[in-house]
Amino acid sequence: MRFDMAWFEGLRAALARDALYSRIAGHFRARLLFEDAGWAVLTRLDDGRLVEVQAPPPLMAPWDVAIRGDASAWEDLLAAVPPPRCQSVFALAKAGRMRVEGDWLVLLQNLWAFTRLLELMRAHDGGAGRAAA
């Protein structure tokens, strides 16, 4: 599994530290499922704060938006410098390498915060000290 509970604990702190995310995510409430063939993590965001992480999620656990891709897609998405046209879930979805599913209204009402969240996941995945631009 790429992400474990400790990884998300670190992300929780990274979200709180980020000035942009803190400014724009105040109303961000969503249950986001991250998944590839071998693992799944369900996160719950409340007013932008990462308040719950379940890995693996319990059976029948509801979610709002699922981001699914194989290991190579996640690798490219979260690379410190993503390869061309791998810089976002939308780019990878257009290429057929990831899937974004669920409640589009939730996603698009929180698009800016969601985008920043993924950038912070990239920065966090690259190790401590690397800041998202």
């Binding site: 810089q87 257009k94 009402q109 800016w112 985008t115």
Partner: protein
């Protein structure tokens, strides 16, 4: 002393297809007219770096206008009574009318995204009126990749959705301040305008059946696309160029969908050889 840029902004009153328009444009420099066309849902500010580039403005009169409904160009009277939808023929004819109104002598046209794509129509309609066409992030067709209805929807913040969907099109290496500036300008678009522009870009401009008729002997055509652009991909541009004998194609490394404003310093290493070539063809000294 105040620190002033060389850019000057003015308003042009233009009667077009029986309708009066008040069109805002900016310009800087002197020389061959270089008329710049902004992307969908944006405005001429995207070319501020180019206008402030002495190597360009020293040899070209760089002009960028805000399309009606965009930036400081108001929509025409009665705009509120119908949905805004940009069409291919209206767009090409408007560009031509603007160039004629300013009495531009065979300008070089450079546009990005929808501003680049329309140059394929210009190449078919009135190539002899232009010295060269520089199409950035352009192709004969792009596969739609999201539902446009979300760009203008009562349950979402249209400003943030429009800005949010274009954010990812930029290269991650481009300077953060400039990427955030582009986000900001997209968030300033009028309701439904980005979506209306994309009617041209996605629906009314499938040029796959006609680009092979473009004759680059009548007007040179340059196609430059950033490798990080997943809306108009390098393969889209390669496919297009392969159908047009004489078209010059460049895939630009470390650039996305907005090369002239997401990383202008890096972009100029691709643009300057094109401008130099145009000047050489015109018999002018380039530096």
């Amino acid at each position: 002393m105040p620190r002033l840029e060389p850019i000057v902004g003015r308003y042009l009153h233009l009667d077009f297809q029986g309708q009066p328009y008040r069109v805002y444009f900016e310009e800087a420099g002197a020389g061959i007219p270089l008329l710049c066309l902004h992307t969908a849902g944006a405005d001429g500010r995207q070319f501020r770096h180019l206008m402030n580039d002495a190597d360009v403005a020293g040899r070209f009169r760089v002009i960028a206008f805000d399309m009606p409904w965009h930036g400081k160009s108001l929509p025409p009277a009665g705009w509120h009574l119908e949905e805004y939808r940009l069409t291919t023929q209206w767009y090409a004819d408007f560009i031509r009318a603007f160039a004629r109104a300013l009495d531009l002598d065979r300008p070089v046209l450079m546009g990005c995204s929808m501003g680049g794509k329309i140059l394929l129509q210009v190449a078919l309609d009135f190539p002899e009126e232009c010295r060269a066409l520089i199409a950035l992030e352009a192709a004969d067709h792009q596969q739609p990749w999201y539902n446009l209805d979300w760009l203008h929807h009562p349950h979402t913040n249209g400003s943030e959705v429009c800005a949010g969907v274009i954010w990812d099109l930029m290269a991650p290496q481009s300077p953060a301040d400039l990427r955030h500036e582009i986000w900001w300008t997209y968030a300033q678009g009028g309701p439904g305008v980005f979506k209306g522009d994309l009617y041209f870009y996605r629906v009314d401009s499938d040029f796959r059946d006609r680009v092979a008729r473009i004759d680059t002997r009548r007007c040179p055509l340059y196609l430059l696309t950033g490798e990080y652009d997943f809306s108009c991909t390098p393969d889209d541009t390669r496919r297009t160029a392969a159908q047009i004998p004489g078209a010059r194609i460049t895939i630009m490394e470390r650039l996305g969908h907005f090369p002239m404003c997401e990383n202008p310093e890096h972009f100029r290493r691709y643009l300057m050889p094109v401008l130099d070539e145009i000047l050489t063809r015109e018999g002018r000294v380039h530096r």
